[in-house]
């Protein structure tokens, strides 16, 4: 589904990311872990063509993302609050995203019903603009909006951060379900090793802009990651 070849990003002479080769097949739930500054958000920005690579290319379903805009109809993302329109109410925002993805108001209403539990009665029909919601509720809005319109690729940066424990569990269930039954390619990043190993079928560790581990998740993965982050990095450096 997504193919990354020889991509690199340089800021002020410092290489912050180099990925020689990475392929994410369709329907995979792909987890990206790494410490601050490892290059997770940089990689996501490259996938979405928000920054320009210094070399190499990202191909999304055969489309080179910085050459054509045709990947946009089947790709959606929530990276940070700059993906929210603060002066809209959550409903208006969902309808707007729905409009862009060819779903009318009724479609969006149907889509939103299963999320009522997740919203915990704090988001819909509250007559509040998104900018006045709490950080956690803003995040819920952004993540749910990224699921509208049956996207084939969903990119979520730190989806579990800032969410309450109940929502974290619900979100995990939703992500698992989308990847297994709907064959959606999901790419998430997280600092939370437990969540990531639970949800993702494959985990890639980034360290200082380089891929240092590529693991198919199994019962030993969590331990392996914990060892890596508690000792491995120190030894490596």
């Amino acid at each position: 589904m997504i193919k990354i070849e020889n991509i690199s990003k340089v800021y002020n002479g410092v290489t912050v990311l180099t990925v020689p080769q990475l392929e994410i097949p369709e329907g995979q739930c792909f987890g990206l872990v790494g410490n601050n500054g490892a290059g997770k958000t940089t990689l996501f920005s490259l996938l979405l063509d928000l920054i320009e690579p210094n070399s190499g290319s990202v191909t999304n379903k055969g489309i080179i993302v910085n050459k054509s805009e045709d990947w946009k109809p089947f790709t959606s993302a929530f990276i940070d609050e700059s993906f929210l329109i603060g002066y809209l109410t959550p409903e208006e925002y969902f309808y707007f995203i729905g409009d862009l993805r060819g779903k009318n108001k009724a479609d969006v209403d149907v889509f939103l019903t299963p999320f009522e539990e997740l919203f915990n009665d704090e988001i819909l029909n509250k007559k509040k603009y998104i900018r006045d919601l709490s950080k956690g509720n803003q995040k819920k809005v952004g993540i749910v909006a990224a699921l509208i319109g049956n996207p084939e690729v969903i990119i979520l940066d730190e989806p579990f951060a800032n969410l309450d424990p109940t929502t974290q569990f619900r979100l995990k269930a939703i992500i698992k379900e989308m990847a297994t039954t709907k064959k959606v390619t999901i790419i998430i990043s997280s600092h939370d090793l437990i969540h990531t190993t639970e949800v993702c079928s494959r985990i890639v560790v980034l360290n200082k802009g380089e891929m240092v581990k590529d693991i198919q998740t199994n019962s030993e993965t969590l331990k392996e990651l914990e060892t890596f982050f508690s000792e491995g990095i120190m030894v490596r450096n």
Partner: protein
């Protein structure tokens, strides 16, 4: 402490994105500032002798018209003067007294350009008065009274910005006074000139004027100090919001949903609201020129025609796509084609220009010729300038903070010098073409030429759009990274 604040000020100034905008524009601006400074200085020195030459008593003549300056100063300040802004939130939990922060902010506003330019006039004028034998005490009192008015305006403007009730009160008084004067019901100068004269004649009143800015300062201080808390100044009050659906736009598909968003953008954000209100003032621009015979020339009529119909285009359009800066990454990664995005902005500008043209129909009262100039100006604005504005937008990389409430006193200023500079090519070109055709043939030929140019802009819309789209794509990454830098 003040030293530390000044250090922060300097850093936020020298590291801001707009500071690195363009050296050429910075140079142009400083030349303009130096030019106007010199002009005001010359006026301050020369006005005494000019009035004397004409047989007027200089001081009382100046006093007669001072009321207009006072009102104009207040109005110009409201639209142009930046309210002092400082990142207050990180300071609140540090061991700094709130009174320190507030006095620094209020003190900082005293050094605004708007408090400096009057000095260039009043100081030389006062010196010339003394040199010519006016009483030193009287002139000193008068001068201090003038400075008091300057600073009173400064702090009054701060309060007006933050107290809607005061704004409405002042606006009503101003409109009534100016309207009454304009309609000839009363001459406000008759009531005000003795007051200004009294500052000189009875120095004690002049010195007493100092109490006004001081008490306004105190009032501002007491007003802002308790409001320097997260739930007041920084976090906006949460009101229950009305949702408008604009369902009539549904039938236009994706374009309709963009337009819906733009309408909500305008209605729900302070910054955009005040910009659109400013553009309404453009409608009345023609009235200013009406009385002056020099502006009776057809070229000037077309000039005001462009201005009257182009208020929205110049003020709001000049900031496209910065209005969407806070969620630009969304717009760039969602299922949106650049062409759709740009064309929705184009339609918004064209519809607003068309509405301005209809609203301006009251100019028919002054003769159909005047309105014809407005129609021709509107056609040019819609056909050509709408494209130029979008083209310029690719290079306008100033992020706009729509949620102005985050800053200390709020940054509601929607007018900036860069956009004013960008309007020059938009105005000059049609005027030159008109002038050429008007001189070679006649007025009608000039109008037809400019209108044809506008219609040609419509005809070539698609190819122009492809060009604009290409430039936006080239600038995409630079724009995204500039918008990341907020404040």
């Amino acid at each position: 402490m003040v030293k530390k604040f000044l250090f922060l000020e300097w850093k936020s100034f020298s590291r801001s994105a707009s500071f690195n905008f363009n050296l050429a524009i910075k140079i142009l601006l400083s030349i303009a500032a130096a030019f106007y400074g010199a002009m005001i200085l010359l006026l301050g020195i020369g006005v005494f002798y000019m009035l004397q030459e004409e047989g007027f008593e200089p001081l009382s003549t100046v006093n007669k018209y001072l009321v207009y300056w006072w009102l104009a100063d207040l109005i110009v300040r409201y639209f142009l003067q930046q309210t002092p802004v400082m990142q207050v939130k990180p300071l609140l939990t540090l061991p700094i007294k709130k009174s320190k922060i507030v006095s620094f902010l209020l003190g900082k506003s005293a050094f605004s350009f708007f408090n400096m330019y009057p000095v260039f006039f009043f100081l030389p004028f006062s010196i010339v008065l003394v040199v010519n034998g006016y009483s030193i005490v009287g002139v000193l009192a008068w001068h201090l009274a003038m400075m008091s008015i300057v600073y009173a305006n400064n702090y009054l403007n701060l309060l007006i910005e933050n107290l809607n009730a005061l704004f409405i009160a002042v606006a009503v008084i101003l409109v009534t006074l100016i309207g009454a004067q304009y309609a000839g019901y009363l001459d406000i100068t008759i009531y005000f000139s003795p007051i200004f004269q009294a500052f000189y004649a009875y120095p004690i009143i002049g010195f007493g004027m100092l109490l006004i800015p001081i008490s306004l300062f105190m009032y501002c201080f007491n007003y802002f100090k308790p409001r320097l808390r997260l739930d007041d100044v920084i976090k906006k009050k949460e009101k229950e919001v009305k949702t408008e659906n604009f369902t009539w736009l549904d039938k236009y598909g994706v374009l309709g949903s963009f337009l819906k968003n733009d309408l909500k953008l305008i209605l729900r954000n302070k910054r955009s609201k005040s910009t659109v209100l400013t553009s309404i003032f453009f409608l009345f621009y023609g009235l200013l020129l009406m009385s002056d015979s020099m502006y009776g020339a057809p070229t000037w009529k077309l000039f005001s025609g462009l201005f009257i119909s182009g208020g929205f285009l110049f003020t709001f359009g000049g900031f496209v796509p910065s209005w969407d800066s806070s969620y630009y990454p969304l717009m760039m990664s969602q299922n949106i084609k650049y062409k759709e995005y740009l064309s929705s902005k184009w339609w918004l500008i064209v519809i607003a220009t068309f509405c301005s043209m209809l609203l301006a129909s009251f100019y028919l009262y002054f003769g159909w010729e005047y309105y014809l100039a407005i129609i021709v100006g509107a056609i040019y604005n819609m056909g050509v300038n709408a494209h130029i504005v979008l083209l310029g937008g690719a290079y306008v990389k100033t992020p706009i903070d729509l949620n102005a409430g985050k800053k200390a006193f709020g940054d509601k200023k929607a007018f900036n010098v860069k956009t004013i500079l960008l309007t020059i090519p938009k105005l000059l070109l049609p005027l030159l073409i008109f002038y050429a055709f008007y001189k070679i043939w006649n007025v009608q030929a000039g109008y037809i030429a400019v209108a044809l140019l506008g219609i040609m802009g419509f005809a070539f819309k698609n190819s122009v759009f492809s060009l604009i789209e290409k430039i936006y794509k080239q600038e995409k990454y630079a724009t995204l990274s500039a918008y990341k830098q907020k404040n």
